[in-house]
Amino acid sequence: MEERYGLLIDFEYCTGCQSCEVACKEEHGYPVGQWGIRVHEDGPWEIADGVFNFSKIPAPTDLCDLCAARTEKGREPSCVHHCLANVMKYGKVGDLAQELNKKGKQVLFVPQYLPLQAKGAFESKGKENRRHTFLTTEVSENAAFETATHGDTHLDIGMNEE
């Protein structure tokens, strides 16, 4: 199996400078309103007695292609190159997993560019395996037909709930 590449982020030291976001937009030409990576902010909220949780977590989006045009030449992705806190690392997932094991407050992302498209267009593969056999079955008229199968109230399907 081909080895995947990922981004290891030491978010203990991500300061939220957003250089990754903008470096990515410049590299890919993504317009206002679109991003290849976004910094998510969690905090500051107080845990207790002046101790706060305040984390900034960059997460690649569906438009992250891990800078394919750069990495095929052997360079690192633009976000990695420009990160002010130097907390992003690009590499093979196996290698990064080793790094991940060395300290806490890290996260390893394996991005997927346009994941829906990556699945390919929908194509049914079930045609040769139909469940029904279309034998000569007689279907008669249904004399027992009525609309409310559970009496005259809609309670059972929740329609009268406040």
Binding site: G16, E21, H81, N86, K89
Partner: protein, 784 residues
């Protein structure tokens, strides 16, 4: 000739094997020319000299910008303001040709007409002659801005316009210079920056360096501001190498929440905290006896004075438990070494110089001055080279003596060779001591950013000055409201020049700007200064044939020539520690410090000479819960302003779509409990007001501030809106400086309460949300 040689940078561990380490200052690649440069500004910034690689095509057009891994401090890293350099340079609203309009058309954006440089210079010369013949050269003011090359280019005053009134237009020069002056008086050198191994070739692993065990960051958020040329994320580099933090800040910033001790003090009470720190360290005998005995002056007097401020008393003033203050004092004193980074908050109160005196005393009595990983001092022969340049030749003693405020505030005016900001405002308004008739904006947009009571400055300028001009990259509200001539300014990518980290006040490095392209008819700050100067006062400029002569003299002190050394791109200074022991801090070559007593003056003979108290003391902010409790019924909240953002340098970058997208609207931070009490939702627009004025901002509900405090962003205007009067680009709608008064400085003329006022807030029904689609459509590049 002085040796100037770049050493190879230490690569970041994340750099790929394919990289540009060791590349020359310029090379060809894939049909493009790559130029390495170490810019100052524009885009607005302090002189950090970050490394840039500029990729230009065969037509000289900028194609790509990338961080240069050869720069030893930034190592390829870049912030959003240089990452978007292409969007700045080719922004459709950038002005790239000179423009003119008539005086009666002030405030009318449609009246501008393109003209030639010659014509623009003719108009400037004509007005200069007319006005100076009638009112003298002192009737001209250079409104200087902050940080940018243009805002610090004092030669605009001394040599181009030859006026003594070079005026940083912020009340009380409430930025950097109060700290600089306190440091010059008591320590005998400019602001002593923390040691981050910036000048050492091996950086953090250099054998001469020690990573500070403790870093106390006080009234400063260096990550976003890159203050005075300090690469802010050097703090994070050192945290990852083991440095532990004490952060003194009213806000729970990212740094504060990652500190071992966060002293979350009430805004403006810093001097009380500083005195209590000193008192604890002395009382618990945590100080460095040898350093105090050999190198300090006035220790006993200081020890006696700070007895007035035990931690228990300070606790009541600053709103932090005494145990926290003591813990901070113990941790700071224990660190070997400890470094102390003290910021803008010191300058933005009337009591800031005493606070600065406390900081100098703290680093001194703990023996952290000029030691590896402590505070790094410049040698005697370096330091700030701008103030005073060409002043004797361009002004002469008689004109220098006319500087506004010289008699009233000599400690301010004579130390930094600026006219006093507040008294300059008064001179414009009243003609006292003499009329002001002409103005030039040097890297300054005072109506949006620098000045307190901006409407008052607007009226003083628009009503009383006969002629104004500016040198800028973009139209600003200030220029739109008041200028007759607009000169187009080059960005750093279009510039040959030199910059020094920390303005030369700390031995770190010298950067060279290498011009990669030309846009329109733009000129650099130094080119334009020389063009105007040669026209108005040619005799002052007779020794300069071209701008390189000017650069070599001003920036390189004639020790080197730009053309000989620019290919080095960034040259580290090299650092020598313990210079006080070997006579390298004083021009007489004797051991000690460059002060009257030759020692660090814990008891300041210069403060005394200027008529101020020689020892630190505490003053409450002029308007505060303790000094004016009667105002609390009308203004129940403490207002602090002006925290830095990554997206903007002060009032700049609002028309750069990718920057604006990070922070589309002016924000005011409100604690969730406060927001609940006032009925304000997250994202709702609010009005904030006090006895001086009001502004509309958008609420960001966050525990970053406590329940008693709100924090408002500064520098806001809206380039997508109309530039017409009465509110050019909406700048007065959201300008938090509307709430900040002038004439609230300290005894020596320094300081203003930008960070410690009172206010009230209320929710608004209407929304002023920025339409980012409109910003994108108006300001995106042609090729986007």
């Amino acid at each position: 000739m002085a040796e100037m040689k770049a050493s190879s940078a230490v690569p970041l561990s994340t750099l790929a094997d394919v990289n540009d380490l060791g590349k020359p200052w310029r090379w060809e690649e894939d049909g493009m020319t790559v130029t390495r440069t170490a810019p100052w500004s524009p885009p607005g910034c302090h002189p950090v000299a970050c490394g840039l690689k500029l990729y230009t095509d065969k037509d000289g057009k900028l194609v790509k910008v990338e961080g240069d891994e050869n720069q030893p401090i930034t190592q390829g890293r870049l912030c959003v303001r240089c990452l978007t350099l292409k969007d700045y340079i080719y922004n459709p609203s950038r002005i790239i040709h000179p423009m003119k309009r008539a005086r009666e058309d002030r405030g009318n954006p449609d009246a501008w007409e393109q003209c030639t440089w010659e014509e623009a210079l003719d108009i400037i010369e004509e007005n200069y002659k007319r006005i100076t013949e009638e009112y003298g050269r002192e009737s001209i003011v250079c409104f200087a801005g902050t940080g940018r090359e243009g805002g610090t280019l004092a030669a605009w005053g001394s040599a181009a316009l030859c006026t003594p009134n070079f005026c940083y237009s912020q009340s009380g020069y409430a930025c950097y210079c109060p700290r600089l002056a306190a440091s010059a008086y008591t320590l005998g050198c400019p602001y002593p920056e923390i040691d981050y191994a910036g000048g050492l070739a091996g950086r953090y692993d250099d054998p001469a360096f020690e990573v500070p065990e403790v870093l106390m960051i006080w009234g400063k958020d260096p990550l976003a501001s890159n203050p005075d040329g300090f690469f802010g994320h050097a703090v994070v580099d050192m945290m990852r190498r083991g440095t532990r933090l004490i952060v003194v800040d009213p806000r729970a910033t990212w740094l504060a929440t990652h500190a071992d001790i966060h002293v979350r003090l009430r805004p403006g009470t810093d001097a009380a905290f500083g005195m209590a720190m000193i008192n604890t360290i002395i009382e618990e005998d945590l100080y460095d006896h040898d350093f105090v005995e050999y190198w300090c002056y006035g220790f006993e007097a200081l020890a006696e004075r700070v007895k007035d401020m035990p931690a228990e008393k300070a606790a009541d003033i600053i709103g932090v438990p005494a145990e926290t203050i003591k813990a901070a004092a113990r941790m700071y004193a224990a660190g070997t070494p400890s470094a102390l980074q003290w910021g803008l908050a010191f300058d933005q109160k009337a009591n800031g110089m005493q606070c600065g005196h406390c900081a100098i005393a703290l680093m001194s009595i703990t023996g952290n001055v000029d030691v590896p990983g402590g505070q790094v001092l410049p040698p005697a022969n370096s330091g700030l080279n701008e103030a005073g340049f060409l002043m004797k030749k361009g002004l002469g003693a008689e004109l220098m003596a006319k500087t506004i405020g010289l008699k009233e505030y000599p400690a301010y005016v004579n130390t930094i060779l600026n006219s006093h900001a507040d008294l300059t405002l008064r001179a414009m308004e009243t003609g006292d001591p003499y009329p002001i008739k002409m103005g030039f904006y040097a890297g300054n947009n005072l109506m949006s950013c620098t000045s307190a009571e901006p409407r008052r400055w607007h009226d003083a300028i628009v009503n009383n000055l006969d002629f104004c001009f500016t040198l800028e990259t973009f139209m600003t509200p200030s220029a739109q409201a008041s200028c007759e001539v607009f000169l187009p300014l080059s960005t750093a990518a279009e510039e040959d020049g030199v910059d020094f980290t920390h303005y030369g006040g700390t031995p770190v490095g010298t950067g060279f700007m290498n011009k990669a392209l030309q846009v329109g008819e733009c000129k650099t700050d130094m080119e334009a200064c020389m063009a105007v100067g040669k026209r108005l006062n040619p005799s002052v400029w007779d020794e300069y044939d071209d701008v390189y002569d000017f650069i070599d003299h001003l920036r390189l002190k004639k020790r080197n020539k730009f053309k000989d050394v620019h290919e080095e791109v960034f040259v580290q200074t090299g650092v020598e520690y313990y210079k006080n022991e070997i006579g390298k801090l004083r021009s007489d070559g004797q051991p000690g410090f460059n002060t009257p007593t030759g020692r660090i003056e814990l008891y300041s003979t210069i403060f005394e000479q200027f008529g101020d108290d020689p020892l630190p003391y505490y003053l409450e902010p002029q308007y505060s819960p303790k000094s004016t409790p009667e105002l609390l019924k009308d203004y129940p909240l403490v207002l602090t302003t002006g925290a830095r953002t990554y997206a903007f340098f002060h009032s700049e970058n609002r028309q750069i779509p990718y920057c604006r997208e990070l922070n589309p609207d002016p924000l005011i931070e409100i604690n969730p409990e406060t927001a609940r009490a006032y009925g304000i939702s997250n994202g709702q627009w609010v009005e904030v007001w006090n006895q001086f004025g009001s502004a509309k901002l958008k609420a960001k509900i966050s525990q970053i501030v406590d329940e008693n405090t709100v924090h408002a962003q500064h520098g806001w205007w809206f380039p997508e809106e109309s530039g017409n009067e009465p509110d050019p680009y909406g700048t007065f709608r959201s300008n938090i400086n509307n709430l900040v008064p002038n004439f609230h400085f300290g005894k020596l003329g320094f300081g203003a309460p930008f960070k410690c006022l009172l206010c009230n807030i209320k929710p608004l029904k209407e929304s002023y949300d920025t339409d980012m689609k409109r910003v994108w459509e108006m300001f995106k590049r042609e090729d986007q």
